[in-house]
């Protein structure tokens, strides 16, 4: 195992990696941007170095500075987390060139992956179905039109090097295709540095299901079951669960065997996720392989007990996978809610700033991954994901019940969050039946507003307390009161006689 690694990421995923490293006594080096100085991943690591200002291009995407920091701090390996440089072949190559182990697939495998055409060609060659039309670049609106006519409308225009809905357009008609082409191209160029687009059949109400893989050298790979990720808002996942409510045992075996075939065909190594869409007719189409640890890895860890970060470190340091498929059992059901700093009452506008207070849920089957604490800063520069609340239960019903309780116990003060959205999902009849798809959330959220339920009793109690706040306007004297003792002596103390105290005896 490594003695010391650098984590080229921030926030909750950096802290997640630090936790496993601490357990394994692997020393950690954190890097941080100026606004992230106060993040828990900075004080949580054994060492921490500043790598730039807030904008990612100046900090977490700054390959040269990160590699220099890694060399200077004498680490053996670099864990990229997810996002930022996690699937960047240039970064992996820069690490390799500097004699650092990149904890993930090799730069060669990443190079293939970023380009979706190549990865899909590999899959197709291995007999894995891909979405119709998905394997050539289109240079012009006219080329796109020809491709669209071949596979039939509606189609999706997608960025070849993209992800997350950027540079993506649905076209139901030729006119929509023409209108969307240039904007999609420019979005792709701005967003990913590559303008290349391709056309793909637009599937109606598909499900988005992925398989978590751990792949050792020489094609030895195991799976940790699937994750259903169809609950998305604007192509961003918001709630993931395992097992998928859409699969019976036969379909599950089929999906997993397709996923393993893709991994073998692409000579993939380390942890990775093979993404599929499932059509309404139940056909699977390969989408892409996510060559990193994923946000939603928690649910797979909860049902299998496998620490995916530990396995990533193990595979990278020892070039072997110390786990066989028959040691892995998926038990019960698990669910992950992404808590984003966004205001669902105002069009999901990002809500950055200070988190004045964070209260974590507890109890059976609850797991919390977050870098939040009282006073934590949510900078405006990065992804809005600030916490993940995951639960496990013996079955889906138990998991849903535990998630409801966990969300009701969670408090985030100072920024708005998507917790009310999750609470609405967990009461939705179709969700409870497991009957949903990738376009489900956009429909559900259209016209939806979070409903604050405040009872007349609560209103009265609020008014009463506000009155007392105003009445007892702070005087110099009152302010001198030590805040830590403001409660002392406010408790009624009885002067009872002899009491038989302390009979509990646990």
């Amino acid at each position: 195992m490594f003695r010391k690694i650098l984590i080229a990421n921030r926030g909750e995923i950096a802290l997640r990696i630090i936790r496993t490293c601490k357990r394994l006594k692997v020393r950690t080096v954190a890097v941080y941007s100026e606004p992230d100085l106060e993040s828990r991943h900075v004080t949580g690591a054994d060492e921490a170095y500043r790598i730039g200002y807030g904008p990612p291009s100046d900090s977490y995407l700054n390959i040269a500075t990160i590699v220099k920091t890694a060399k200077k701090s004498s680490v053996e390996a670099v864990h990229p987390g997810y996002g930022f440089l996690a699937e960047n072949a240039d970064f992996a190559r820069a690490c390799e060139d500097a004699g650092l182990v990149f904890i993930g697939p090799s730069s060669k495998v990443l190079g293939n992956a970023a380009n979706k055409f190549e990865s899909k060609r590999f899959a197709k060659a291995a007999g894995v179905p891909v979405v119709p039309g998905a394997n050539t670049e289109v240079q012009s609106a006219r080329e796109a039109e020809a491709e669209a006519r071949k596979i039939g409308f509606p189609v999706l225009l997608k960025a070849a090097f993209g992800g997350g809905g950027r540079g993506m357009r649905i076209a139901k008609t030729v006119k929509e295709l023409e209108q969307g082409f240039e904007t999609a191209r420019s979005e792709a160029n701005t967003g990913f540095g590559h303008p290349e687009l391709y056309v793909e059949k637009y599937l109606q109400e598909p499900r988005h299901i992925e398989v978590q893989i751990l792949a050792g050298p020489r094609g030895r790979a195991v799976h940790l079951g699937e994750r259903e990720c169809s609950l998305q808002r604007r192509y961003q996942k918001i709630l993931e669960e395992t097992p998928s409510p859409a699969l019976d045992p036969k379909k599950r075996r089929q999906l997993i065997s397709l996923a393993l075939r893709v991994i073998k065909a692409t000579h993939y190594e380390n942890a990775g996720t093979v993404e599929f869409v499932m059509s309404k007719a139940g056909e699977f189409y390969y989408l892409e392989t996510n060559k990193r640890i994923q946000v939603e890895h928690l649910v797979s860890e909860m049902v299998t007990g496998v620490d995916i970060v530990e396995k990533q470190l193990m595979m990278a340091s020892e070039h072997r996978l110390d786990l066989s498929q028959d040691e892995i059992e998926c038990i019960g059901a698990a669910m992950n809610c992404r808590i984003n700093a966004e205001d669902p009452a105002h069009g999901f506008i990002p809500s950055s700033g200070r988190v004045e207070k964070f209260v974590s849920p507890g109890g059976p089957g609850v797991r919390v991954d977050t870098a939040l604490y009282d006073g934590a800063l949510v900078p405006e520069y990065y992804d809005s994901l600030i916490a993940k609340i995951a639960v496990q239960g013996l079955d889906r019903t138990e998991a849903i019940g535990r998630m409801r309780v966990a969300l009701s116990e969670t408090t985030v003060e100072g920024v708005k969050t998507t917790i009310p959205v999750h609470q609405a999902i967990l009461e939705d009849r179709k969700f409870l039946q497991g009957n949903y798809h990738a376009q489900f959330m956009d429909k559900m959220l259209s016209g939806w507003k979070p409903q604050q339920k405040t009872t007349p009793e609560e209103i009265a109690a609020i008014f009463l307390t506000m009155k007392r706040t105003t009445d007892s306007a702070p005087t110099l004297n009152a302010q001198k009161t030590e805040p830590r003792s403001r409660w002392r002596s406010s408790i009624e103390e009885p002067q009872l006689g002899k009491q038989a105290l302390f009979l509990e005896g646990l």
């Binding site: 700093a341 105002h346 069009g347 950055s352 992804d383 408090t411 009793e457 209103i459 009463l464 009152a478």
Partner: protein, 169 residues
């Protein structure tokens, strides 16, 4: 009659009546009875009350803005505005003024695109520009129908929450 705006919803509240610890407070059409169980000294003010079968704890801290209160009900945060004088049947949204309207940035981010220009006519709700923040593209809509008088930002600018973006006359 004073009005409390709790997370955008309006409630009419009446004067406190009764004798400590038993108080009555009219809320909308209803008369609510409370029993005060405990009150902390210092800031924020925390009060425990009994309302029927329930115990409710409320913490209140005053915001910079004299009319805004940061409230916790059983530990859950709420933003409450107190409007002592006026009562209108409105939706609780801020009303649009008749004069020129300054459009401010609702958050920090980058101006990804400007979709209007000085002297162009705009409708209320029309998209003026796109602000990129936390990986998302957010439309900035005009708060009134009128003409763009001034544009304070250009594409690619980084802005902070509250920065002025443009003026609609």
């Amino acid at each position: 009659m004073p009005v409390l705006i709790v997370e955008g919803k309006r409630y009419r509240v009446g004067d406190l009546a009764g004798e400590e610890p038993f108080l009555n407070i009219p809320v909308d059409e209803q008369n609510v009875g409370l029993e005060v169980l405990r009150q902390s000294s210092g800031q924020p003010t925390t009060v425990f009350v009994r309302a029927g079968s329930r115990v409710i704890s409320v913490s209140v801290q005053r915001h910079d803005d004299q009319h805004v209160y940061l409230v916790e009900v059983n530990g859950k945060p709420l933003t409450v505005t107190f409007d002592e004088d006026s009562w209108s049947a409105g939706s609780g949204e801020t009303t649009v003024t008749d004069g020129p309207a300054l459009v401010n940035s609702p958050m920090a981010g980058k101006i990804a695109a400007i979709k209007t220009a000085v002297d162009l006519k705009v409708e209320e709700g029309q998209s003026l520009m796109i602000l990129e923040a936390m990986k998302m593209q957010n439309e900035i809509a005009s708060t009134k129908t009128g003409v763009v008088k001034e544009l304070y930002v250009k594409q690619g600018d980084l802005v902070k929450a509250g920065d002025r973006l443009c003026l609609i006359g």
